[in-house]
Amino acid sequence: MDAVLTGEGISVAYHQNIVIPAMDVQIPGGNMTSIIGPNGCGKSTLLKALSRMTPVREGHVFLDGSQIAKMSTVEVAKKMAILPQGPQAPGGLTVKELVSYGRYPHQRGFGRLKKEDHEAVDWALSITDMEELAGRDMDALSGGQRQRAWIAMALAQDTPLILLDEPTTYLDMTHQLEVLELLEDLNKKQKKTIAMVLHDLNLAARFSDWMIAMRSGRVLYKGTPEEIMTKKTLADVFSLDASISRDPWTGKPICLSYKRMDRSVY
């Protein structure tokens, strides 16, 4: 599988603090990829660097083979949508208005919505099952609905690649599943490439085709969930002693229980 988004020797630093030193990374096209790792390992920073939110100090990011720094930002926005962590909408904004903002890179001039814009917005609302809530205020939505609205905005942007930074934060188990199943549908049925930072290992293993495991600003392991969800990997990445089993329903590897390396369970 060809990579649609690659970082070649990228390093990222905040002031004097080097968060990512010279990293090579590939996001494979057509897949669902999860980036995992402990807090502060630089996974969100990596996502920001790949999406031009944060400048890279060295190295280059390539999107579809073109160097991202040399592309116009509108051109990038037509190929790659980004959902940051915990996005905020101004008070009083309706779902439909927010979703229509996703058409920004396709619009010109005063920004009156054209026929294809309306079609894209309606399509995004229907795929995310938000049609009935289209007229609601964003403030009046539950956490899960709000996240679906933001995903709908990214969909209206009509890009083959979508990056998400912890799309399931602050959601309960059911709504975490709902969001990830929506992303899975987008990947399988709409052929979107999806890359996201995820905290929950078992959900990452269940929904991803490819996993990237980071620690201290480096990619320690990458591979299929089968390859990543091993005792050794989790020990190296999270310093966890994990008991790995198999999900009886999905057949995917799961982490059944875990403890910190230097402690007993009791």
Partner: protein
């Protein structure tokens, strides 16, 4: 939505009519029609065309410009507390005016022409200073700009106060009045200048409304959607500062209008800039028209600084909107 706009327009027209009739000489609709057709007695013509109408249009335009300016600054900085005054636009104008009166005590030159120019130059000088101080290697952060603005504004105001202590009483009162916001120098020349420049800047802001929408989400979302955030921020702030500088030049240090009118509009029509900008034009001009009306009539023939009136009538309504929604 349409109702909100209709009500605001009716309020505005009613306010204009009341203002036309505010004063010693009342003007009936028939008389007004006569005058507009070119008739009427000389004295009434003079009262309406040379005194009242320029004054009405000046206050209306000032309100509109400050409101739209505040609306842009709040959106770009994603800060509800932001307004042109926070950047030191008024303070800069005040400093230049006070400094001029100290340095050139004998007003040999016509103040009506010179003062707006001085005030505008002061506003722009402070804006440029803010920008230079706030700029870093990564471009301009609106948050940093606001903080710099607060600091610069405070420093500049202090210098103005020191200068004012050296002024004779009448000049002191003049500057004090000016700093509180009062429409003066209301003549057709200023109205024309203000109208054309605010119209152009206002249309530009309206043209940029979809960018303002995207910028008001968050930095990361705006970048992700393909907005050239740094460049657009500078351009839009520049337009907003120019608008408020022009308004400050003829309206003095009106701070409350730029803060509150965008919020009023937002509560009435929501945060979508395509609708919000026109609504802000109306809330700004309505508030200033009525504030000017009251400032001229309440203690007639003395005038209360219109900035103070705007705050007195705007604050309760603003509080009501905040509590209600």
């Amino acid at each position: 939505m349409v109702t909100v706009f209709m009500i605001l327009i009716i309020l505005l027209l009613a306010g204009i009519w009341l203002e036309i009739n505010a004063g010693y000489r009342k003007i009936s609709p028939e008389e007004m029609w006569e005058i507009l057709k070119g008739g009427g007695t000389k004295s009434v013509r003079y009262t309406l065309l040379n005194l009242r109408l320029p004054r009405i249009f000046t206050s209306l335009l000032v309100g509109m410009g400050l409101a739209v300016s505040g609306c842009v600054i709040q959106g770009v900085s994603r800060n509800d507390m932001a307004e042109p005054g926070i950047l030191g636009i008024n303070a800069g104008a005040g400093l230049f005016v006070a400094a001029f009166l100290v340095l050139v005590p004998q007003s040999s030159v016509s103040l009506t022409v010179l003062l707006p120019v001085l005030a505008f130059a002061g506003s722009m000088a402070v804006a440029v200073l803010d920008y230079r101080l706030a700029r870093t290697g990564q471009g301009i952060s609106p948050r940093r700009l606001l903080l710099m603005g607060v600091a610069v504004s405070t420093a500049v105001s202090s210098v103005t106060t020191i200068l004012m202590l050296r002024l004779p009483d009448s000049d002191y009162a003049f500057v004090q009045n000016w700093l509180s916001g009062s429409i003066w120098g209301a003549n057709w020349q200023n109205v024309r200048l203000l109208f054309v420049s605010l119209l152009l800047l206002g249309l530009f802001v309206f043209y940029k409304s979809r960018t303002l929408n995207v910028l008001s989400l968050s930095y990361q979302t705006a970048v992700g959607l393909g907005a050239a955030v740094s460049r657009q921020t500078v351009i839009l702030l520049g337009a907003a500062i120019a608008m408020s500088g022009l308004c400050c030049a003829v309206g003095g240090g009106l701070s409350f209008v730029g803060l509150v009118c965008p919020h009023m509009a937002r509560r009435l029509v929501g945060p979508n800039y395509r609708i919000l900008v026109p609504a802000t034009v109306l809330t700004g001009s309505v508030l200033m028209t009525y504030a000017d009306l009251i400032s001229r009539t309440l203690l007639s023939p003395r005038e209360i600084p219109v900035g103070i009136v705007a705050a007195v009538i705007g604050a309760p309504y603003f509080l009501y909107l905040l509590i209600k929604t």
